[in-house]
């Protein structure tokens, strides 16, 4: 088609559409909202999956994380009232040494032990998480120091009583005082503070086996020191009954050298640990593979996109039906005009092009407006979040977990969705215009001329 003719056809379409501005505008709105909702839905989906991905990546795509988990009740307690027996479970040092020795694809194996304890300084106290760890802990968990230094290998070997405390621990116990150099009492043992970490956003829970971690109320001490001081028994007294738990390690993190080894290695790890009949019986560990989770998150993201996208696409289809409806009415209304054009030499294809161009222009402009609106999704969403937080959640009702998920949502425009949504809108314009256009072209010129 010649450019001049194309321009002429577009001008003709615009002219006809401008003749009924309100009608054209309303018809276009259907497409505008359709395109907008496709982009917005995909942005919300994309934002959610981006978050999931970030969480997984924070765990380290090259890591395999093995966590101790408390065995299900029935294996721990058999007798009804017997609440005072010692529950022994979890990863053991022997597991660590086994993995450290046999897994050749790893660059490092990092054991960690965590206990919730009361920490004291002068008259202040705080429940902290006492973490016995090795120097690698800092890097693996993306910790940064605001003061002093982290634990070193020498600290491990020499069983020093050094401790690094987290930001909030420092604030709660020391206030404006400089904690470095002073001592802290945790679970009855005294440590000397050598460093303070910066505030860090808590990690979110991943799957069922790895709960979220708040790194801000931690105290880090050399694992060997902790081991020599605390032994493996933890006794808790609560509400008149006391329970004792015996476990050695909370977590072993394996750093794998090559990405392609991560998943095969995780299978080997599972098998090796299950060689121990204790683990078989108690089911007291879980292997978390962030890379696997990443793949799952990726799959989830597609499912998410498809579901949300199709819901939104339905509104585009509804917009298309609106266009078809209006164009059919328009063909009936303009039967006489069609007859005149045919009498003056218009071919059927000319009539088809004329009406198709009207729907294409209508849906194209609607699509562009929809894309522009869609680009504002993140800002619009901020407004909605503000509104919901200020008025809906304020009212006191509402599930707090839901509220948290909602306020954490950060829509992210999937840039591929812009041309796709626009393309779909034009496609729908063409499809919904085809029937009216062919109906117009098929009219008998003489009958059309007689039409009142």
């Amino acid at each position: 088609m010649h450019l001049s003719r194309l321009i002429r056809t577009i001008q003709l379409a615009l002219k006809s559409l401008m003749l009924h501005k309100l009608r054209s505008g309303l018809t276009m709105l259907g497409i505008v909202f359709g395109v907008f909702s496709v982009i917005a839905m995909l942005a919300i989906g994309e934002g959610a999956s981006q978050q999931a991905q970030d969480q997984v990546l924070e765990l380290g795509a090259m890591n395999i994380i093995i966590r101790s988990i408390k065995p299900p009740e029935d294996t721990g307690q058999s007798g009804g009232g017997n609440r005072s027996r010692v529950l022994s479970y979890g990863l053991k040092w022997t597991d660590f040494h086994l993995l450290d020795k046999t897994i050749k694809t790893k660059s490092k194996a990092i054991p960690v032990r965590e206990i919730v304890q009361e920490a004291r300084h002068l008259h202040r106290s705080l429940n902290v998480r006492l973490v016995g760890c090795t120097p690698e802990y800092m890097e693996v968990n993306h910790l940064e120091l605001s003061q002093g230094r982290f634990l070193t290998d020498e600290d491990q070997q020499q069983l020093t009583n050094y401790a690094v405390i987290a930001h909030e621990t420092a604030q709660e116990l020391y206030g404006i005082e400089d904690p470095v150099g002073s001592s802290i009492l945790v679970g009855g043992a005294s440590y000397q503070i050598i460093g303070v970490t910066r505030p860090r956003t808590a990690s979110a829970a991943v799957g069922g086996s790895l709960s979220g971690q708040d790194y801000n109320k931690d105290v880090y001490v050399p694992l060997e020191t902790l081991r020599s001081r605390m032994k493996d028994l933890v006794i808790r007294v609560s509400a008149g009954s006391f329970s004792a738990e015996e476990f050695q390690l909370n977590q072993i993190t394996l750093l794998i050298k090559k990405r392609e080894d991560v998943i095969p290695t995780s299978d080997v790890v599972r098998e090796s640990l299950l060689l121990d009949p204790d683990h078989v019986q108690k089911k007291d560990f879980a292997v978390v593979v962030p890379l696997e989770l990443l793949k799952q998150a990726d799959q989830l993201r597609w499912i998410f996109n498809i579901v949300l996208g199709s819901i939104a696409a339905i509104s585009l289809v509804v917009g298309g039906i609106g266009i078809m409806n209006i164009m059919l009415a328009s063909v009936t209304e303009r039967t006489r005009e069609i007859g005149i054009r045919r009498a003056l030499g218009a071919r059927q294809i000319d009539i088809i092009q004329q009406f198709l161009m009207e729907t294409v222009v209508l849906s194209g402009i609607g699509g562009i407006v929809g894309v522009l609106l869609g680009l504002s999704t993140p800002y619009a969403f901020l407004g909605i979040q503000w509104f919901v937080e200020a008025f809906v959640l304020e009212a006191g009702s509402g599930d707090s977990e839901l509220a948290r998920i909602f306020s954490d949502m950060k829509p992210q425009i999937a840039y591929w969705s812009l041309p796709v949504a626009f393309g779909i809108s034009v496609f729908i314009g063409i499809v919904s215009g085809l029937y009216p256009a062919f109906a117009a072209a098929k009219l008998d010129p003489i009958e059309a001329l007689r039409h009142e």
Binding site: H2, S4, L344
Partner: protein, 233 residues
């Protein structure tokens, strides 16, 4: 004598299911170049039907129609469109202008559908303006149909019929909706076009109007009843 158009034993039937309406039942006629014919006859005698076949708006059921040396009776839709655009100028009783267009834009419409779709340039636009002036519309070219009188609208239609310089002008009761003074003006324009060499075939009910033509064809029941070429007194 060169023929602009000729019909040979032309039939046009409308199959309505229960009955078949025979609008034309074997019409033969010759129209030399430069002819000016008035087609007369009672209502329903087949005048419009014949004119529509001549104009390529309709196809005969059988029979031949030779236009410009070619038999066009069995041509397809696109070819008929091309004939309507290039060889025929239509003038209707009810003007048939496009309501949202100005007079000038209405005159331009046939230009949009020329074969090959050439661009409409300055020369074409000037020609449209000249045609508008020729039919006496000079100061009304930017008016829309509803702002024009019937006579003015018919002038627009005449200018439009001429824009692609067709050989034959077909007019179906062109003055049927006009008063006698306006009728006179419109007929004067057609007279002038005929003197310039254009073939004009015009359906009319009015004997007075028919006397402006060189000859008259009288139709009855889908057949040509008689012809006369008596000149006006």
């Amino acid at each position: 004598m060169k023929l602009a158009a000729s019909l040979h034993d032309l039939h046009k039937y409308y199959d309505l299911g229960s009955v078949v309406v025979k609008a034309l039942r074997g019409v033969s006629a010759e129209f030399p170049k430069g002819d000016f014919v008035a087609i007369m006859g009672s209502s329903g005698s087949g005048k419009s039907t014949m004119l529509n076949v001549l104009g390529g708006l309709d196809r005969a059921t059988h029979g031949d129609y030779v236009l410009g040396g070619h038999n066009v009776a069995q041509l397809g839709d696109d070819d008929l469109s091309r004939i309507r655009n290039q060889m025929i100028g239509f003038i209707f009783q009810s003007y048939n202008l496009i309501p949202q267009y100005t007079a000038l834009e209405n005159i331009e419409v046939p230009l949009h559908y020329r074969p090959g779709y050439p661009a409409i340039g300055e020369a074409e636009r000037n020609r449209c303006i000249d045609l508008g002036e020729m039919v006496g519309l000079g100061d009304r070219l930017d008016h829309r149909p509803y702002q024009l009188s019937g006579g003015q609208q018919q002038r627009v239609a005449i200018a439009r019929a001429l824009v692609n310089d067709p050989e034959i002008i077909l007019a179906d009761e062109p003055t049927g909706n006009l008063d006698s003074a306006t009728e006179e003006e419109i007929m004067a324009i057609l007279d002038r076009l005929n003197r310039q060499g254009r073939t004009i075939i015009m359906v009319t009910h009015e004997p007075e109007v028919s006397m402006r033509a060189k000859r008259r064809i009288h139709m009855k029941d889908g057949l040509i009843e008689r012809e006369d070429n008596a000149t006006a007194t």
